[in-house]
Symmetry: C2
Amino acid sequence: MNMKIAIVGIALLAGLPAFAQTNQPVVEDFKPSALNQSGKQYPAVNSERRVRTHIVASQATNVLLDISAVKYPLTKGADGAWIGESGPQDEGFHYYQIWVDGLAAPDPGSMFFYGASRWGSGVEVPAHDQDFYAMKSVPHGEIRQVLFYSKSASTNLRCFVYTPPDYEKNSSTRYPVLYLQHGGGEDETGWGSQGHAGLIMDNLIAEGKANPFIVVMASSYIPGASMGGRGPAPAAQPGAAATNAPAGGGGFNFNFSAFEHVLLDDLIPYVDGNFRTFPDQPHRAMAGLSMGGMQTHNITLAHLDTFSHIGIFSGGSIGTNEITDLTAFKQKVKLVFIGYGSREIEPGARRGGGRGGVGGDPKLNAEALKAAGVNCHFYVSPQTAHEWLTWRRSFYEFAPLLFRD
Amino acid sequence: MNMKIAIVGIALLAGLPAFAQTNQPVVEDFKPSALNQSGKQYPAVNSERRVRTHIVASQATNVLLDISAVKYPLTKGADGAWIGESGPQDEGFHYYQIWVDGLAAPDPGSMFFYGASRWGSGVEVPAHDQDFYAMKSVPHGEIRQVLFYSKSASTNLRCFVYTPPDYEKNSSTRYPVLYLQHGGGEDETGWGSQGHAGLIMDNLIAEGKANPFIVVMASSYIPGASMGGRGPAPAAQPGAAATNAPAGGGGFNFNFSAFEHVLLDDLIPYVDGNFRTFPDQPHRAMAGLSMGGMQTHNITLAHLDTFSHIGIFSGGSIGTNEITDLTAFKQKVKLVFIGYGSREIEPGARRGGGRGGVGGDPKLNAEALKAAGVNCHFYVSPQTAHEWLTWRRSFYEFAPLLFRD
């Protein structure tokens, strides 16, 4: 097949409203999703990784299951409820919604998660490696809701802080800190909920694979501040890394300066003042997914005296051309970790591979950093796209590399 | 009006499916509810305390707003969306849902809360006294998600723990503990979310009105255990207070023994082992709302060597006939607090006033306890029913009375 035609075909598909019929025979071994509301049988997932839902809407005429950018029509069953299933999904977590006579709503059977700029449904397609984020009988850390006052935003902001299992008992021990950011349209709840960051840390610590550290998860959407891609970009603020931000994947200018000020001027001082941290650069890391990865890129490169470990998940990479003083960079930066889902960087993918516009081809960039003597790791999550299983796995690979000195 | 006829009228109304039209002129000063999703204009509330919502459902033929047990039809507006408002509501928080062509769904404009045995919509009607649960620029405590292993349930269970603002800084200070329970169809998230227990504590502590203490909020629905009113009652367990439980308001036998075992055998030891508590009876309180109040009643009376302070909000009271040894009771119990919403105990109300079946008329019971020399407080929340503003206010009145010795 002519490659040019194939790519045009994908582009056309991506531009059209997607509808799909599932006429294939379906394997009848559906089990309720692990993320359902208590006692709910639907959504359910079968061994083909299809998602089936069951919607009670007796007077409706048009009910759809909308998942992974495809809308699947449901049909009215013998019990009067609407039922139907998607095509096979990738393993892992997917946001989705239902449409009932033109209403886009969460599925009342699922629990709700913040993504796509809304609280809505999520479904879990069991992954073959789900054990690494399973809840086990190991010591568990806490995830704490913390309210801190932001001078730069003139308001109280919320973040979540993971403290490792031994934090309360070792009352004189100090810990390093990772600042871990969500993606676009998500918020500070994502990593602790659908990201399972707490369970991943608990399991890694129990197996002796990661050193215990604190994880701080804040929202990068600051009240009163506009952000590129969601509205007019605010005037660049002096000294903010965001003034040098590259164009984002959608062609918008991302401007992260409001969050950068909150992080550096308010949040880090609060955390260092209220938790038993090592309050210095060698014990401070930043990572994020998608937009959070771009923020990590911009903010860490502008503040290498603040952060020593850098993690970018599905959010670009660092090119050697961005490093002005390689000797100083190698002295300060103990780790650069770049993660992607395989479907993001495979041929024809719309993300990664340099086409995201953030710093060029991530694999080539990682190899160049390694060749230049930087401790750089490149990770590819098998058979996943721009979704949470990519980021759970990236975090699981990243965490053991932190604070090893 | 003949009182008998009026009461029959209310009973008839309560027994019928409720539909209502709002033909009255509506004051056009609606403001978005404080609990809306980011950027959402609806639901909105006006100065008459009507709730208006705005539902995009272009192909729908029947859209209803379902709040406080009344269904209000919406009408299709000029923009193609469905719009309409409720009658005036009481001040405070209300669970609600929408109906779209037979689908009962959360309103996509609101944030979601767990109540009525589901995650669904909530709306906040501003209360004249809302300042006591407002987020202010005062030191804030943390609300921590804690996973603890339950031997009796053979699984990890989740609870939330409020620690006061100075907890992390005063690393040698110990604190008393309140165990605070949700109501029927709710869970461990309720008090920290729609209950605003953390903000109420922060404000009371900042004003010097309450002594700092830890608040533990667990779910009383134990996986694998059935509970009276939701299914067959489990066999009574030896030594469990629940074997003496009175009949609940709905005529079901409530059986709380599974939770009682988790609380006494697993949760209290976990909290005393992992937080800086005073692990003794004088520094341990229990309170709860509705079903949680009935649990508090049963569990504290059966374990007076474990709890010294008792709070029952809209969940019954304690009759002097339930106290076998008054001298011992007065020695052990430093506080009995009974709270109700005024609409629960006014003439004709279906709850409180002895008609709930839990221990008789709460006001008379409180007076009898006081006359017997027990430190008993009776509180009535003005103009509220069996809803969260009653319980926020009850908690605000109760907390300053705790651990004063």
